[in-house]
C-alpha cells in the first residue's frame, strides 16, 4: 500500500473552530463522504460508535482522537484530519469516564486492518512523540502537515535525521 494515497492535503483542515466531538466527526465524515471515500452510513456509524467507544488518546502533550468505525462503510482507505483552534473535551478510549482536551483529530477510514497494521502502528506511535505532534499542529500549510506525516509514516523508523535543530 502507498501512504501517499491515504494522506492527502485536501483532507486536512487546519485551525478549525468546533465545540464538540460530534461537530468534528460530522464535519470530517462529510468530507470523506463527499469525496466518495466512505459510504453515506459512515457518518452516523462513527457518531454512534463514539457514544459507546470514545476514541481520545492521552498523549501527555497534544492529545488526539481517532474516530473510526466498521470497515464495511469504507470505499477507499483515507484519513481526514482536523487541527482545532480551541481544544475540545473528548472522552478517553481507555477510560471512557474521563474527558481530556483534544486538539487534533484523525478520522480513520481503513479497509483491511491487516494490510494497514504497519501504517496504523506507525501512526499511533507518532502520537507518543510530543515534538512530532507539535510540528504537525504548528505546520504552516496542509502540504507541510502532509509531508511531516509522510516523513514519519513512510520508510524505516530509524530515519530521524531531518528537522532536528529546534
Amino acid at each position: 500500500m502507498d501512504v501517499k494515497e491515504i494522506i492527502k492535503p485536501d483532507l486536512i483542515f487546519k485551525q478549525m473552530d468546533f465545540n464538540t466531538p460530534e461537530e468534528v466527526i460530522s464535519f470530517l465524515a462529510e468530507k470523506l463522504t463527499s469525496n466518495e471515500l466512505v459510504k453515506s452510513e459512515f457518518r452516523p456509524a462513527v457518531l454512534e460508535r463514539e457514544k459507546t467507544f470514545p476514541t481520545a488518546l492521552f498523549t501527555g502533550s497534544i492529545n488526539v482522537a481517532i474516530p473510526h468505525t466498521d470497515v464495511k462503510y469504507v470505499n477507499k482507505p483515507a484519513i481526514a484530519i482536523a487541527t482545532l483552534k480551541h481544544p475540545i473535551s473528548w472522552r478517553r478510549m481507555d477510560k471512557p469516564e474521563d474527558d481530556i482536551p483534544v486538539s487534533m483529530v484523525f478520522m480513520l477510514a481503513i479497509v483491511d486492518p491487516n494490510e494497514y497494521v504497519l501504517f496504523l502502528s506507525k501512526l499511533t506511535t507518532l502520537f507518543g512523540k510530543p515534538d512530532v505532534l507539535a510540528d504537525l499542529y504548528n505546520a504552516n500549510s496542509n502540504a507541510d502537515m502532509a509531508n511531516i506525516l509522510l516523513a514519519n509514516l513512510c520508510g524505516e523508523e530509524k530515519q530521524e535525521n531531518k528537522n532536528k535543530e529546534d
Binding site: 460508535r49 459507546t52 467507544f53 488518546l57 492521552f58 498523549t59 501527555g60 473510526h68 468505525t69 466498521d70 470497515v71 478510549m93 481507555d94 477510560k95 471512557p96 480513520l108 481503513i110 486492518p113 491487516n114 497494521v117 496504523l120 502502528s121 499511533t124 506511535t125 502520537f127 507518543g128
Partner: protein, 101 residues
C-alpha cells in the same frame, strides 16, 4: 518466565475487534517473539470479551477500550501503551508480573 513450554494465550480486544487490537496483537507477538516465548494472540471485540474468556483458556486480556470488562478470573491490562509507546516498559513489566502468578 513461569510459563514453562506452554504457549501463552492472549486475547486482544478493542471496540470493533479490528483496528487498534490489530496493532496490539502485532506488538505482543513482537515482544514475546523477541523473548523466544511462544504466544497465540486472538483478536476480538470488547463486547464479546467476557464470553471469549469463559470459553477459551486465556492467560491475559489486553484491551484498548477500557479495562472494566466484567472479567475476574483472567488479568485485564490497558493496551493503549502499545499504541502510543507511552508507558510501554511499564506495561510489559505489568505483563511479566501478572503472568508469573
Amino acid at each position: 518466565m513461569a510459563t514453562d513450554n506452554k504457549t501463552l494465550r492472549i486475547l486482544a480486544v478493542c471496540a470493533d475487534g479490528a483496528a487498534t487490537s490489530t496493532v496490539v496483537a502485532v506488538r505482543l507477538r513482537e515482544y514475546f517473539g523477541n523473548k523466544g516465548v511462544k504466544v497465540e494472540v486472538v483478536q476480538g471485540r470488547v463486547v464479546d470479551a467476557k464470553r471469549s474468556v469463559e470459553s477459551g483458556k486465556f492467560d491475559l486480556v489486553v484491551s484498548t477500550a477500557g479495562s472494566n470488562l466484567g472479567i475476574t478470573n483472567v488479568p485485564v491490562l490497558n493496551g493503549i501503551p502499545l499504541l502510543t509507546g507511552i508507558g510501554k516498559d511499564q506495561f510489559f513489566a505489568e505483563v511479566e508480573k501478572v503472568l508469573k502468578k
